[in-house]
Each structure stands twice: as C-alpha cells, then as structure tokens.
C-alpha cells in the first residue's frame, strides 16, 4: 500500500510524463492489436469467400482457336483432376466502360453466362433486383462485389461497355460473391445472358475456360511443358492463368503492406515509450536522490523503493495498453469496413480477444521489464550515498571542451559541454529519433510519390502508357500505318509493338514473362533501365527488377526463352523497374523477339497525343477514317439511306464478321443490281480494336494511390506528434532538472532565449546524426516496401531525402526550443531565496 502511495505521489507530480507514457502505450497496443486481429481476418475472408461460393481454385483461359482438348486431358490424366469444368467465356482486355460518374474507364473483363458461372462456382447472388424487374430487363448483368463495394454501383444502375465508339448498355440486375475474378488489378467477371454473350462475341475475344480443383501441388511450368510436349505448340503464350493464391496475394498484398507499416509505427511508439520510461526513472532518481536517502533512512528497503517506480509504470503502461486493446476491439468493425473496401469482399469479424489480450500483456510485460532494469539501480544508493546525491555531482574526470579554448559562441560551447554530461540520454534520444525518423521520412517519400495521384505509379509501370492503343487487323502494314498516323497534328508520338499478351516461357523459371518489344527502346518514354542499358541487338534482353531479385539473374547472365518451336539464349543488358504483368516482364528488340516467334509481326500501334484531352475525339477520327473496328462493324445495324448505301453497309457487316470471327485477312466483293455493279474491299478495316492503357491504368491504380497518399500523410502527422511528445518531455525534464543551473546563468545575465538555444543545441548533434542514419535506413525500408508491395524499385530523390532529413532536424530543434520555453518560468529571485 505504501508503495502504491509513493507511485501515486510520483504520478501526480509528473502528470505530463505519465500522460505521455499512457498515450504511447495506448497507440502501440492499438496498432499491434489491430494488426494481430486483422491479419487473420483478411486471410479468413478469402477462405470463407471460396468456401461459400464453392469457387474452383484454378482457372485457365485459353485462346479459343488455339485450345486443344489435350490440355484438358493432361489435367485429368497426369494430375488426376476428376472434375474439370469446361466452358466458353469472352475476354475484354482493357475493355472500356463508362463509370458511374460518366467518365471513361477501363478494366480487364471476363464475360460468362449463367451456366458457365454455375460451373465455376455457386453463383451466390447478393443485393439483386426483384425477379419481376429482372425479367423486364433487356440486358441484365450481374457484377462481382468489387463494383458494389469499391466502384459504388447499385442494382438498377446502368453499366455501359464501349467498343469502337459504340455503347453497350447493361442494367445491373445485382451483385454476386465470387472466388476468383473480383479484382480490378487483374480481372473482373461479369455474368450476362446467353443472348448478350452472342451479342458481345463479336466485340470481345473468345476464350476456353478450364476450371478445376486439385489437392496436389500444381506447377504451371510443369503443366505447360507437358502441354507443349504433347501438342508441339507453345502454351504459355495462349493462356491466362488464375488461381486462389494469386488472387489472394494480389488483393491482400497491398493491405498486408499497410498492416506491416502500422506495426512498424507501433514499434516506433513502443521504442519511444520504453526510452521515455528509462529516461524518466533515471531523472526521477537523480532528482529524488535525497528523498530516496531519507526514505531508506526511515526504513524503506531498496526493493520497496524500486517497486514504487515499477508500480508507476505498470500503472501508466497498463492503462495505456488496456485502453489501446479495448480501442482495437471497438475499432474492429471500422477495420472490417476498411478491409472490405480494400479486398472487395465481405469481412465478418469475431473479435479475437485472446490475441488482443496477448498483445496487451506483452506490452505491460515489456514495460515492467524495462522499468525493473532501471529501477533496480536504487540499490546503488544507500542513505549516505543518496544524501550526497550519488557520485554524479562529483567530478574527477577530464574537463571536456574547456571554455578557455572556446573560439566562437559561448552558447554553442556550453551546449556542447552539456551533451557530454548527458551522453546516455542523448543515445536514447538518438534511438527514438532514428526510429521515428525512418517512419516519418519513409512516409514523406510515399506522400511525395503519390502527391499527384497515380502519375508516380504510371512512371514505374515499366511499360508505355499511350493515350490510345490500337490493335491492327492482320495483313495491315504496321510501319506504313504508323507513318500515316504520325502525320496527324494531334499526334505527338507513335510506336509499333506487339499486343501485351505475348507470353514466353523462361527456362529455369516458374514465372512466364510478358514480352515488351520495340524496334528502338530509346523512343519510349516510360521504360527506363535502372541499371545497364536497353537491348540493342537481337540477342540482348532486359529483365524486371523483381525477376532479378527473385531469380538471382544479373546483367551479363544469359537467359533462355522458349518460343513456339525453339529455344534461344539472350544476354541480359539491363534491369527495369517494372510493375506490369506481376512485375515479371522481359524487354527485347523486335528482331530479338522474332528469333523465338519468327512469324509474329507487331500488331499494336501506341499513340501518344499532344493533348490528352483530345483522346475521345481522336479515337472517333481514327474510327471514321480507318473504319470502325471490325468487331464493331460486324455488330452494326445496316445503315439507313439509298439502296447503294444500304448494300455497302451490309457488305461491310459481312466482311467484318469474316475478319473478326474467321480470321479472314482480305475480302473483295462485287454485287450487280441490274446494270449497276457495286464493288468494294476490306482495306478500310484496319483497326481490330481500340483501347486506352491510360484509362485502364487509372482504374487499377487510382485507389491505391489515394489510399497510400492518405495513409502516408496521417503517418507523418502521427509520428510528428510522437516525436513532439518525446522531445517535449525530454526538454521539460531537462529544464526541471537543471533549474538551478539555468537560474544561476540567468543571474549572470544569460537571457531565457540563450538558455533555450543552449538546450536546443544540445540535441543538435544527436539529431543530425540520427537524421542521417534515419535517411539511410528509410531508403532501405522504401526499397523493401516497393519490392514487396509492387515488385519495383523507384528512383530515390536525393534532394527529397536531404530535404526530409533537414526538415526532421529542424522539426526536432523547433519542438525542443518551444518545449524549453519553461526556462522563462524560472524565477531567479525565487531560486535565490529558496
């Protein structure tokens, strides 16, 4: 009881410090408990979704015309998959849609009819229109939960696809819970009627869907090898694969990164709390040395006095940790909502009290341990030693920084002398500043990167982001077409490349590569070798930074790519920080690509406009000049007008069907009506498809950018508060401790400002050194963050690093200076008459 009274006395005397420890432990417990609870919630949300929907764990999408039954047979024969489900779906890569706000947007969409959906999973509908209303809809569509949770659509809303300048409006009949294909970063699966499937089959590519589950370890590389061996065709280039683990990783990875960042912040606050405890016990003991002696003389044992200090921190740390734990439990539904928005799935939490309890107990135990380690020092001060204030005030050592040798300012000199007298406290302060500095500087880098939305992310995609991507009809001379487009005044740049779906297998790797090829990489704007150089010859290649790290391949190594019929070796000349296609792309010249795919010709024209705003108008212009895309024309109704006009329109429609659905490259026709011959050809069908990579990128990255920007801003503010609390407490306790010294100096004529400056300058060296260390560490943390979260390395901005470090130093000094303002309250008269 008497111990508690001593503790309570100390607490009452130092309310500010006690409040700081409560705050820091509260925040630590809150962040750690939230992390502990959320980690399992997120994972279980996915598992539950797969369980409830009965979704297949693996889905392979083969280009329909290249699909062979043997691919399915291999699964059944070699992998003993008993329940292979096969169906046809449509795939629109970067399919244009009109957002709810009327803006043009794009997503990778899979269209499936209801029977296909039921083959893949249960088709668990949620939030749907009444049946009688659905029956009245001419084009109903069921969308995955992403569109409800993240995009904000509601049943009954219009959902419009756009292709070749033509709108395909659907009415949202409802939403459904799905296992796979619920991610805007990969693909989204829309369920439509059989009639609409037929309708859209003229617009989007047809794929063969193979869905299956397997208990066995499934290796894509092995499967592709088996398929290629039995079909003599390269499979990797015709398949889009997806599975539960990939979806889970892709949807949760980003969230996990933020949770780990929260843990990092909590570690920072914990370090600060523990330092504050050590610091405070030391200073309390110094201050209360005589009191300790008196109490010991009165019969209190060292253990009892130690316990009084420990009790104080068990009390403050306990209040903070328990409150933080309770806050985490109360906050759980809010976290569910945030998680739901991030992973586009319903998250139902049963608050895991045990985990929260473990976190709270761990923090209290840690606080107790640290307090115990320092409070045990009471033993070193038996009454007589304590009366003499320990040995601290007895100086027998060397006079460090003698004033006799002072060169410039007395204030600077006295400040630096002060540093030497309180080295241990400075080391502690340094550790706190380093920890907080890493967090705050990293957050500053993030904020800077995302300050203008997703533009920063576009810069590290490692691919060109043109305003318009136009796939040409086969047979169209790409170079000539590009030359023609370059002449338009709206056009800034035109590049010729392959469609992004060109995948190749890499020997010794279980990660296929998307090939990005240009005849001359120096013409690209958004592909920058991090190290090395662009490939210049046909046997050269650049790989992504993630492939470099995960596969331990480096510049100068050889890499073997498997084409349709041959394998070729390439020399790695450069490393590109690339976020596209799971960050595993390879880059090679057109000639280099032809070594493994001799028959492939570049079929995609990438157009960058001088003014981005011109995109819709210029797309219309291209469509009117070079024909609507063949798919669009095939869908078009015959035009109104004269007989000849109607005949020509009908002929165009027929030709478009031949071209888009049967792979016909050239068509000539002649129709005689009476004496009149109406003739024509398919030369004006040059465009197979038009899309905008920029719009797709926006839909995939805008939310990431917004969330990260907000998070980083709050992190900066949060850490700034923590730093202010710590430095403020240190400064105030220094003033309290050195009240006599400052009073004496005031009597000599030192102004309060000079003394505040001295106190501030005392932390200058430790702040500068800590900021430098924090800068180096924060760069390292940043690299880990980007590689783990996005598979890229972003270039570090030296001015930003220096600026952030300088701002940190300035902030620490300002906080200390302001906190040292309590020096003003020291009354010389009171001190002298005490």
């Amino acid at each position: 009881m008497k111990i508690c009274r001593l503790s309570l006395f100390n607490l009452k005397k130092n309310k500010r410090e006690a409040a700081a420890i409560v705050f820091l432990t509260l925040v630590t417990a809150f962040l750690m408990a939230t992390f502990a609870v959320s980690m399992t919630q997120i994972s279980s949300a996915f598992d539950r979704a797969f369980e409830e929907t009965g979704s297949a764990d693996f889905i392979l999408l083969f280009e329909d015309d290249k699909y062979r039954d043997i691919y399915r047979d291999i699964l059944e024969e070699e992998y003993q998959v008993s329940d292979v489900r096969e169906s046809r779906v449509l795939v629109g890569m970067a399919a244009s849609t009109i957002s709810k706000e009327g803006e043009s947007t794009a997503n990778n969409i899979i269209f499936a009819d209801e029977s296909t959906e039921r083959k893949i999973e249960n088709f668990k509908k949620l939030n749907v229109l009444p049946d009688n209303e659905i029956e009245k809809l001419s084009h109903p569509i069921w969308l995955p939960q992403y569109f409800e949770i993240t995009a904000g659509y509601a049943p009954g809303d219009t959902f419009t696809f756009v292709s070749g300048g033509r709108n395909y409006p659907f009415t949202i009949a409802g939403f459904y819970s799905t296992g796979l294909y619920n991610s805007s970063r990969h693909m989204l699966k829309c369920v439509i009627t059989d009639d609409d499937m037929v309708l859209l089959s003229t617009v989007y590519e047809e794929y063969r869907l193979i869905a299956f589950d397997t208990e066995k370890q499934f290796s894509y590389e092995e499967y592709y090898e088996k398929c290629s061996a039995r079909s003599n065709e390269s499979v990797a280039s015709i398949v889009i694969l997806f599975d539960k683990d990939t979806e889970k990783w892709s949807e949760t990875n980003f969230l996990y990164v933020f949770l780990y960042m929260s843990v990092f912040l909590s570690v920072v606050t914990l370090i600060c709390a523990l330092f504050l405890i050590l610091h405070k016990i030391s200073k309390d003991m110094e201050e209360q040395m005589v009191q300790i002696g008196v109490l010991e003389a009165l019969g209190y044992t060292s253990r009892e006095l130690s316990c009084s200090y420990i009790c104080e921190y068990i009390l403050t740390g306990g209040i903070g940790a328990v409150t933080g734990g309770i806050a985490a439990a109360v906050f759980s539904p809010v976290m569910d909502t945030l998680t739901r928005g991030m992973i586009n799935r319903d998250v139902h939490t049963d608050v895991n009290i045990l985990r929260i309890f473990i976190v709270v107990i761990s923090i209290i135990a840690l606080v107790t341990l640290f307090a115990l380690s320092r409070a045990a020092r009471v033993k070193k001060f038996p009454p007589v030693v304590a009366f003499r204030k320990g040995i601290k005030t007895h100086h027998f050592g060397k006079n460090i920084l003698p004033l006799e040798k002072m060169r410039h300012s007395i204030n600077v000199r006295l400040a630096f002398k002060g540093i030497c007298s309180d080295l241990r406290s400075n080391i502690g302060t340094g550790i706190c500043i380093i920890a907080a500095g890493v967090a705050v500087m990293f957050s500053v880098y993030l904020f800077d990167f995302f300050k203008s939305g997703y533009d920063g992310l576009l810069g590290v995609t490692g691919m060109e982001i043109p305003d318009i991507s136009m796939t040409m009809m086969s047979g169209v001379n790409g170079e000539n077409f590009c030359d023609e487009i370059r002449k338009f005044p709206e056009v800034e740049k035109v590049l010729l490349t392959h469609a992004m779906l060109n995948k190749v297998e890499i020997k010794g790797s279980n990660q296929n590569a998307t090939v990005i090829s240009y005849s001359d990489f120096s013409l690209t704007d958004n592909i920058h070798p991090k190290t090395g150089r662009f490939p210049a010859y046909d046997n050269e290649i650049m790989i992504s930074a993630k492939r470099e790290e995960t596969e331990n391949r480096h510049i100068g190594d050889n890499i073997i790519l498997k084409g349709d019929v041959c394998e070729k070796s390439y020399l790695i000349t450069g490393i590109v920080s690339a976020m596209n296609n799971d960050s595993m792309s390879v880059y090679m010249t057109e000639d280099g690509y032809r070594r493994i795919r001799p028959s492939d010709r570049p079929n995609t024209v990438e157009i960058t406009l001088k003014n981005e705003e011109d995109r819709p108008a210029f797309t219309d212009k291209l469509t009117s000049l070079y024909g609507a895309s063949a798919k669009d024309a095939a869908y078009a109704q015959s035009a109104q007008g004269s007989l000849e006009e109607r005949i020509r329109a009908k002929a165009d429609e027929k030709m478009a069907v031949l071209i888009s659905q049967y792979g016909v490259t050239d068509v000539d026709y002649a129709i005689r009506i009476g004496d009149t011959v109406i003739s024509g050809n398919s030369s004006h069908f040059m465009i197979k498809d038009i899309s905008s990579m920029k719009v797709l990128a926006k839909s995939q990255m805008a939310s990431i950018a917004a969330v990260t920007k907000t998070f980083s801003l709050w992190a900066v503010i949060f850490i700034a508060v923590v730093v202010a609390v710590i430095l403020g407490i240190i400064a105030v306790s220094a003033v309290k401790r050195q009240r006599r010294e400052f009073g004496i100096m005031k009597s000599m004529g030192y102004t309060s400002r000079e003394l505040m400056l001295q106190l501030t300058l005392r932390i200058l060296p430790v702040t500068v050194i800590s900021a430098c260390i924090a800068a180096v560490l924060s760069v390292r943390v940043q690299r880990i963050f980007w590689m783990a979260g996005f598979g890229v390395q972003i270039p570090e901005s030296l001015p930003l690093i220096i600026g952030a470090a300088a701002a940190l130093v300035l902030y620490c000094l300002t906080v200390t200076y302001i906190s040292a303002g309590s020096i003003r309250k020291i009354s010389v008269t009171e001190l002298m008459t005490e």
Partner: protein
C-alpha cells in the same frame, strides 16, 4: 556624488493565495556611485527583495527603478538579463557555482556572456583567481572539491570579471566560517577601493563595518541611515561603536 541607482515609490508585494504580503512600501532611495552600501534589517524586513528589485533581477509591483537615467522596471526579462550582464555583478549567500564546471570555466561562463575570448581575458581571469588565493591547480577543481570560502572567492571573481558598474551581494559571508568570511570581506574591501560601487545585504555587523553607508529597513521602509568613512580610513573601534549605536537606535 552621482546616484547610480534610484527608486521612486517602489513597492513589491507577493500574493500567497488570497493574502497579499507587501514587502517593500513606497520606497524612495538613491545608491551613489562608488559607495559601499550595506542594507540591514530584521528578517522579513525586505532586504533581499529590495536588492533583487534594485538589480533588475525582479520587477517591482509598483513604482520605478532607475539605473542612471534609464528606467529598468518596465523592461522584459530578457532585456533585464542583458542589462544585468553589462552592468551588474552578483555574489550570493549560497554561492551558486555551476556544479558541472570547474573553477576556471565557472568564471569564464560569466565572462564570455559579455566579452569575447582573448588571451588577455584568460590571463586576467587567472590573475584575478590567483589574487584571491586560487592557484592554477585549484582553478581546475570542481565546486564540490572546494571549501565554502574558496567557492565564495570564485563567486566574487565571477561577479567582478566583467567590471560591472555595480556589485550586488546577498549575505556573502552567511554560509562561511569566520576565517573564510573575513577573507571574503577583505576581497570586497579591495574591490571597493578600486572604485567599485557595491550594494550588500547582511545581518552581520562585522560585514556591515566594511561599508560606507548603512541603510536600515523595517517593514519595507528605510527607517535610518548611517554614513561611515572608507574601511581602514578611521579608527576601527570608534567605527564599530558608532555603527552599534546606530543599530541599537534602529532596534537591532
């Protein structure tokens, strides 16, 4: 003689909860340049309060304090600090040396707040310390290694190193034994002989004998004043008797 310090209707009160304690009441006083003024009075008469008000260490509640022609009672604390460093030196009963600095640095901390570092200054500091009996070896010692008398001598050197226009001392021998006290008073006498104005608060008649003017305070008011010749310039016995008579009259 020209007054170096002057007060007009000086009042100083302290509030203690609901009660106000008026320590100095409407005090008009002049301190002359070159004088060794001793302020005496019973405990609680306001001696130290007056000293701190005169020195700009504390602000009066009412009234004015003039240093020469400059009124110092209305300025900010920082302005007063700058004023003190330029014009005043202080010697305290509790000495108040900086514990973490050695003797030399204690004096230099006071010196460098006004003067720039120079070999001449260092030489002068060392000479002054030597003059009060603190050898080169002792100059390297820390306050906790000094006797009370030695520490007070350091305090005096620190107070006079910037050649202040006026030196304030608050019972400088109060915590010293008689031998050390005498040594310290000898230093004060020596400083005064060099033309230094001194204002000293004391309880001790031996200390008061060193002054040239004794002011007696009672309830915050000057109730008597006694003038003396410079110390050593008259008969010590007679000097003591006269002062004793004065103090008896004052109710000492």
């Amino acid at each position: 003689m020209i007054p170096i310090l002057r007060t007009e209707k000086l009042c100083k009160s302290f509030s203690n909860g609901a009660t106000q304690q008026h320590v100095i009441k409407n005090l008009d006083l002049e301190i002359m340049e070159g004088d060794f003024t001793v302020i005496m009075g019973a405990s609680g008469s306001g001696k130290s309060t007056l000293l701190y008000a005169l020195s700009g260490m504390d602000k009066p509640t009412l009234g004015k304090v003039f240093f020469g022609d400059t009124e110092i009672s209305d300025y900010t604390n920082d302005w007063l600090a700058v004023f003190r460093r330029k014009n005043c030196g202080f010697v305290f009963q509790n000495i108040y040396l900086l514990e973490n600095q050695n003797v030399l640095d204690n004096v230099l901390t006071g010196a460098f707040v006004v003067q720039k570092n120079s070999p001449e200054l260092i030489k002068r500091v060392k000479e002054l310390l030597a003059k009060v009996g603190l050898t080169e070896e002792m100059q390297k010692k820390y306050p906790n290694q000094l006797s009370g008398g030695e520490a007070q001598r350091v305090g005096i050197v620190r107070a006079v190193i910037n050649e202040p226009k006026i030196l304030f001392a608050d019972e400088p021998t109060g915590s010293l034994n008689s031998a050390s006290g005498r040594d310290v008073l000898d230093i004060f006498t020596q400083v005064h002989e060099n033309g230094q104005s001194i204002v000293m608060v004391t309880h001790d008649i031996k200390t008061a004998l060193r002054g040239t003017r004794v002011i007696y305070l009672r309830d915050g008011k000057v109730v008597g004043e006694h003038r003396m010749a410079k110390y050593g310039g008259d008969d010590p016995k007679e000097r003591r008797e006269k002062l004793t008579v004065f103090l008896d009259e004052m109710g000492w």
